[in-house]
Structures are given as structure tokens and as C-alpha cells.
Symmetry: C2
Subunit: 221 residues, 2 copies
């Protein structure tokens, strides 16, 4: 019980709850635990989201495909974390990305019905949820209204990456053809190729056919 | 009381509550009413948001300045509506835009403390709030990941507008110099001027010095 208490407290929605609350929650709410072997797909992009999904141990690959399937972005996600709290509500409660296990993973899920009937009765849980959702909209909003100092192609590339990932602190892999990236950045294939090769020569990215890997977003210049 | 009941039911967060709940809410929660004369500023962009702000009667001008103050967008907002539910929570609970009255306006405000201590106890109110916030993040997210069929300058202009307003069903006024718009759209001043004048000749926009007025976003081609 003590371990479970510590584990739950690390999760975004449970932060700030006291041990008595957590004990009560464990009694009332059906927490569903699973251990999943490595290299197993667990969530498909666009699949209905009907439960809160927590990663307790291990790491996942997150893959997001553009709506037109022209490019995709891959990042890893490490425990402890909550996947897509925003996808449980709204008009279209579906997942925004696909996830599969990298290592063996421990996960915990909680049905939406328990979230509404029990968890939301804890003011701290409820406030955590409202804060997370609001923070999500603020960061997307700021991204759209943020300052734009130059129109350098490499800056447009950086902005393109930044606007399509939610964690710039993890390595990023972009799958796209040079032509399609040129289209996204509104420039020529030749200029895009030149820009990418310069970044590669400065060891900021690595390039393979249709694959751009960015080990650290923050060192991109 | 009956009128108040009907009025509250029109507001996004109260939709679906029954008369008994509304009666209880009116007894328990301090609803603060005000009538504000025409042409009065009421909210400043970046001001702290400490209460829910409902427009019950009348209409407001909403002005959003870009972070670098280089451009601004103006739209009107009509009753009944709730202003920026996402600005009450999160790390930076501040307003995203400035508002002033166009006509005489009836407004109702509710302190955040009442929202948390009372209103959130009504499961319908709570679910409405979670759905509104989630919908907000979904629409910003979809905007970023949406299909991109052409790189025509006029399409980039449309996308620029769409990504900076939250209501494409209301007329839009953009204050920006031709140079700054060219910078935003990553094109030349000459091309932008030509594109805008074509739209003007087709009666889709009107142009004044530093002002672009779009009566109907949907007719922009």
C-alpha cells in the first residue's frame, strides 16, 4: 500500500492528495493494472479514449501521423506519466497518437465512469485536471501567438518541429520526404536539403532517407 | 427567478442543469451582476483572471494583440456567452484578449472560489467545464495537424487568419502593415499587396491603411 501511495503521488492528477484520500480512492475506484511485454502496440491514433491511461514503469514510443498521412513524428514517453488527459473529454474523445511499449511496461487504467463518479469528488484531483487541460490550451495558444523574429528557413524548420511535439526535451524523429518537408516549410526542395545538410554537418541532426533525427531540440540552431 | 433560470441555461457551463439545481445555485453562489454603458473597456489582455465572466446581454469588442505588438485582431462577441473559461486555471491565469462594450451590456461574474467550492459539485457543470476545455485543446491541436493542400499565398493568408481567431463566423479586422503581414506569411510585400488587392477587387475584403477587414471568412477564396 505504501509503495502504491508513493507511485500514485508521482502521477500528475494525484499530486497533492494526502494518504487518507489515496487509501479511500484505492478502496472505491477500480484501478486496473497490467504488465505489457516490450514491443507491443497498446493504443492506436484515433481510437476511442474511454479511460485514463497511466504509465507506471517503462517507456513507450509515441507516434503521431499527420491527418493526411504525409509525415509522422516519433518520440519516447517515460514513466511516470499520464497519456492524453485531454482525450477523455470533448466532442471527439479519441487518442491523438499511437503508442507501443519499448521495454516491458506497467500500466494502470481507470474507466471514465470512475473518474466522473468518484475521483472528481476530490477537489485536488479535480483542480489538477482543470489546470492540466487549461495549461494545454495555453501552450498551444502561445505557440500560435508567439514572437516570430526571423523567417530563416532553419527557424521555420524549428517552429515546425516545436509545434508538432509536446515535449521538446526528448529526442525527436521526423519521417517525411524532402519534397513534403519543402511543401510544409513553403520553400524549395533544394533549399531544404541544403539547410538540413548544414545541420547535419554541425552534428545537430542525423539524416537517412525520409528520416530526420533530432537528438536534442535545444541545440538546433 | 424564471427569467434568470432561462438565462443561465443559455450559458455554456449551465446547459443541462435542472431548475432545482439552478435554484440551489442562485441561493448558494454569489452571482455578481452589472450593467455597463457602451464603449467601456472592461478587461485588459494579460490581466489576471480571477472569475468566470458571462456576457448576458449586449455585445463586446474583443481585441487580441500579438505578443510582439506587431499586429492585432478584432472581432465582436455577442451575448449569451462565457469569456475565456480556459483563463481561470493553469499556470498563468490571465486573459488572452482585451474586451470593451459596444452597446450597453449586462454581465454576470462568479468568483473562482465559488466555482471550486460550489459549482463544481454539480456533475453537469463540472462535465461541461471539462468538455469545453478539452474541446479547446482539440481545436488548436487539429489546426496544427490539419491537412495542407496548397501553398498558395491566399491560402496561407486564410490559415493565418483562421489560426488567430476562435470564431470564423464573425467579421474579422486585422491591423497590420503590409510589410509585417509579408513577414508573417513569409513572402514579399509586393506579392502580399497583389493578393490582398485581388481579394478586395472580388469584394471579399476591404482595405485601408494598415487595416484589413474580412466581413465573412467563409467567402474568402
Amino acid at each position: 500500500m505504501h509503495t502504491m501511495y508513493k507511485k500514485l503521488l508521482q502521477l500528475p492528477l494525484f499530486q497533492g492528495l494526502n494518504q487518507a484520500d489515496i487509501t479511500e480512492i484505492i478502496e472505491k475506484v477500480k484501478l486496473h493494472f497490467q504488465t505489457i511485454p516490450a514491443n507491443t502496440p497498446i493504443i492506436e491514433q484515433e481510437e476511442n479514449c474511454t479511460k485514463l491511461f497511466f504509465l507506471l514503469e517503462g517507456s513507450l514510443t509515441k507516434v503521431t501521423n499527420s491527418k493526411d498521412q504525409v509525415f509522422r513524428i516519433e518520440q519516447s514517453v517515460s514513466a511516470p506519466c499520464l497519456l492524453e488527459p485531454q482525450s477523455l473529454f470533448g466532442l471527439a474523445p479519441t487518442y491523438q497518437a499511437s503508442y507501443s511499449t519499448i521495454s516491458e511496461c506497467d500500466i494502470m487504467t481507470i474507466e471514465k465512469s470512475y473518474v466522473l463518479s468518484e475521483l472528481m469528488n476530490y477537489p485536488i484531483f479535480e483542480l489538477n485536471y482543470l489546470n492540466i487541460l487549461s495549461r494545454n490550451t495555453h501552450s498551444l495558444y502561445n505557440l500560435i501567438w508567439e514572437n516570430k523574429y526571423t523567417n530563416e528557413l532553419s527557424d521555420r524548420f524549428k517552429y515546425f518541429i516545436k509545434s508538432h511535439v509536446d515535449n521538446v526535451d526528448q529526442p525527436i524523429t521526423l519521417y517525411i520526404t524532402m519534397e513534403d518537408l519543402a511543401f510544409q516549410l513553403n520553400d524549395t526542395r533544394l533549399n531544404v536539403s541544403k539547410m538540413l545538410n548544414e545541420l547535419k554537418d554541425r552534428n545537430m541532426i542525423s539524416l537517412k532517407r525520409k528520416i530526420i533525427h533530432i537528438p536534442s531540440f535545444h541545440t538546433l540552431k
